[in-house]
């Protein structure tokens, strides 16, 4: 039994954290939101050099061949920095899906490009109404019924769906399945789609940990320095208990997300249950962190100039993505109390 990460895993996280502290500052996030695509191809290329984009890609396709236990640490950092790039769809979900069910030809063509930072993947499962970063994706992995298809973006019609997160641009996809794009059918396709959904839910749960951490850090900084009634507001128990509650929910969510990462990486039978527990808890923790952070900041946190909203919007967006807390709790309910 070993409930701690290895030195190597933690070192990789530190490398990513230091990179993002330099290359993905709040000003950089704002710049990305204001750009045409919502994210930066330059930063994506640099992340590829670090091995991040191809983290889940097998080594013979130029990736690191690592599993979800390392990936969640990197995703946590991406949440902490409010990273605008499409790491969830491409690295956490799309690449493993192509790895598992893609033809040799498709794997050859796309996985190397993902590792090199030259390709972005979009994922449109039947259970997901919107596809994030769809307009930037070179290849869309789409589900219709018991079929999975890999469709180049120029063969689909995208309808933009303006959403609150300036980087995580959403669209609906209009497309027709054809023999040429078919990835998998029948049981194999359903299995792959369910696994992909769990990978997405796990990945957003991990990002939500980082988002919550950053929100709490910002709120604590504010509470330590903002003086009212002659003392820092963080000295008031009404404020500090609110922050302690938010921190507690985050600290509780963390080991459950790691547990789910283990279940996804090792394909344990309880994987859907573990993932749903993680996503439900992480979504609730992030929603609480958003509210507490804003309440602590007071009116300044409501302004566009303050950076708080960048993280709050990411938190709200991810809490609702890949199954919100209520959806995942329903799945937990079905597993622990089967309907009569």
């Amino acid at each position: 039994m070993r409930f701690a990460f290895t030195e190597d895993q933690l070192l990789f996280r530190t490398t990513v954290r230091e990179f993002l502290e330099k290359e993905c500052t709040p000003a950089d996030v704002r710049a990305a939101w204001a750009s045409a695509s919502g994210w930066s191809t330059e930063r994506w290329a640099k992340l590829a050099t670090l091995g991040v984009t191809g983290l889940t890609v097998p080594e013979d396709h130029g990736g690191l061949g690592m599993d979800e236990l390392v990936l969640v640490l990197v995703l946590e950092e991406s949440g902490r920095a409010a990273l605008p790039e499409p790491i969830v769809a491409t690295t956490a979900v799309g690449a493993p899906l192509l790895r598992d069910v893609g033809s040799e030809d498709l794997r050859e063509r796309w996985l190397g490009a993902v590792s090199a930072g030259r390709a972005v993947l979009g994922v449109g499962l039947a259970s997901l109404p919107y596809v994030d970063h769809a307009a930037s994706a070179d290849l869309l992995l789409l589900q219709r019924g018991d079929e999975l298809h890999a469709v180049p973006r120029d063969e689909v019609t995208l309808v933009a769906q303006p959403a609150l997160d300036g980087a995580r641009r959403l669209a609906t996809v209009e497309w027709e399945p054809g023999a040429a794009t078919r990835l998998a059918t029948g049981e194999r396709a359903v299995w792959a789609a369910e696994y992909a959904f769990d990978r997405g839910a796990l990945a957003t749960a991990a990002q939500l940990l980082g988002v919550s951490q950053q929100l709490i850090t910002m709120a604590v900084e504010h509470a330590r320095h903002r003086v009212q009634f002659g003392q820092p507001i963080g000295a008031f128990q009404a404020v500090k208990h609110m922050l302690a509650d938010a921190l507690l929910q985050l600290e509780l969510a963390r080991p459950v997300v790691y547990r789910a990462a283990y279940s996804v990486a090792r394909a344990v039978p309880e994987r859907p249950l573990d993932v749903s527990m993680a996503k439900a808890f992480a979504s609730d923790a992030a929603t609480l962190a958003c509210r507490v952070a804003l309440q602590t900041h007071g009116a300044i946190g409501y302004t566009w100039e303050h950076d708080l909203h960048l993280w709050m919007k990411r938190g709200w967006a991810l809490a609702a993505a890949w199954g919100d807390a209520a959806w995942h709790r329903a799945r937990v309910g079905a597993a622990v109390v089967p309907a009569s």
Binding site: Q9, V220, F236, A330
Partner: protein, 393 residues
């Protein structure tokens, strides 16, 4: 990182289960005593814990020099969870708070006198920190110890001393320097509870359990029974409290009650409709099941952090205590709600839903968010030590 037990740990857990099967006895194991099941308050429970000691299981984490095994805390955790799951007595304050404090700070004399007895389970302790005017603010204790020859003279009152009526020794904090700042004027003493001048009066509780007031009237204690240095007592108390928060609130009783509720929901009907088909009930059960998993892995994280022989991590202990006890209450609330009108029937009543567990748990768990540092105190600890927010008192 992984979440599986090693083959050695699995083997140990199986050995413990076999041992518990062999020693099964309803007078020793009773889940309906809830959290109070852990105290060793009857001759039969003492005899059982002596057998646990014979196995070498009381000193799992202690140094070999003092009869321990210098093994991982995870084995102590596995043992305690197994004992707690059956509502049995547990490795508690003797091995933990008192033994570990004596090991770290006690004199050679105290080590020789108490450590072997603790490992053979030949001594029971009561712990006295709380006073009528020192509850959450434990450092404001007033029980006075004044110099008298080669020892000290103790006068005053302690309260909420749960084990005072059956223990032999009292682990008690007293004020030795009234002029020093309140945290720096307290000393820890070991006092025999049959010492002249000690009066023990029962206080009965909503959970049908006994706790006690303890009065000191000119009670003399030799210098030999001062623990560590004079005026350093509160530091030792704080170190041990972190340990207490974790060992006192085991996870398996919560899990066991969750199983009772889940089984009830899966099999019972209300107004002729299966409870399992009620979306509100399903939602509540799903949330509680998720929270139970959270508490379980949080506990494992605590074990992992304290395993390398280091001090137990303070804020993790506070986080665990805060969440587990609040969860325990929410689970009790849900059990009462879902059980309907019958959930007011007393425990062990034949017609009671969940065999009356809802009722006993509901009455008992109300104390868990108060004792061992109230939830609000845990939040202060988390806010100050982990978030670095300023003191407010």
């Amino acid at each position: 990182m992984d979440f599986e037990l090693s083959p050695e740990q699995v083997a140990f857990r199986e050995e413990v289960e076999r041992f518990l099967d062999e020693n099964d006895d309803p007078e020793v194991f009773d889940v309906t005593r809830e959290n109070m099941a852990q105290i060793v308050d009857t001759p039969k429970k003492r005899e059982f814990m002596r057998k646990v000691g014979d196995r070498g299981w009381l000193g799992i984490t202690w140094p070999k020099e003092w009869g321990g095994q210098e093994s991982d805390g995870v084995y102590e955790y596995l043992l305690n969870e197994a004992l707690a799951r059956r509502g049995g007595p547990q490795i508690g304050k003797g091995v933990g708070i008192i033994g570990k404090t004596i090991l770290a700070h006690g004199s050679e004399r105290l080590k020789r006198e108490f450590l072997p007895k603790i490992l053979r389970n030949e001594v029971e302790f009561a712990v006295g920190y709380s006073e009528p005017d020192a509850g959450s603010d434990a450092a404001s204790m007033k029980l006075r110890a004044t110099r008298d020859g080669d020892g000290w003279r103790l006068n005053g009152q302690k309260t909420w001393t749960t084990s005072a009526h059956f223990a032999e020794w009292y682990w008690v904090g007293a004020r030795t320097d009234p002029d020093a700042p309140k945290h720096r004027g307290i000393t820890l003493f070991l006092v025999p509870l049959d010492q002249p001048g000690i009066t023990i009066n029962p206080i009965w509780t909503m959970g049908d359990e006994r706790t006690n007031d303890v009065f000191f009237d000119e009670v003399w204690v030799s210098d030999d029974y001062v623990v560590g240095e004079v005026n350093r007592g509160f530091q030792y108390i704080s170190e041990a409290l972190d340990l207490e928060r974790f060992t006192m609130f085991t996870f398996s009783p919560i899990e066991q009650r969750m199983d009772v509720l889940r089984e009830y929901v899966a099999t019972e009907t209300r107004d002729d409709q299966p409870l399992a088909d009620d979306p509100v009930v399903r939602h509540d059960v799903a949330r509680l099941a998720t929270d139970c998993e959270v508490a379980r892995v949080l506990g494992l994280r605590f074990v992992a952090k304290s395993m390398k022989g280091g001090a137990p991590p303070t804020t993790e202990a506070s986080e665990y205590k805060l969440f587990a006890t609040e969860l325990s209450k929410r689970l009790a609330n849900a059990s009462m709600d879902i059980g309907g009108p019958g959930s007011q029937l007393r425990v062990k009543t034949e017609d009671a839903p969940m065999a009356g567990r809802a009722e006993s748990t509901y009455r008992y768990t109300v104390i868990d968010t108060i004792g061992g540092g109230a939830s609000e105190i845990q939040k202060n600890i988390i806010a100050r030590r982990k978030l670095g927010l300023p003191k407010n008192f």
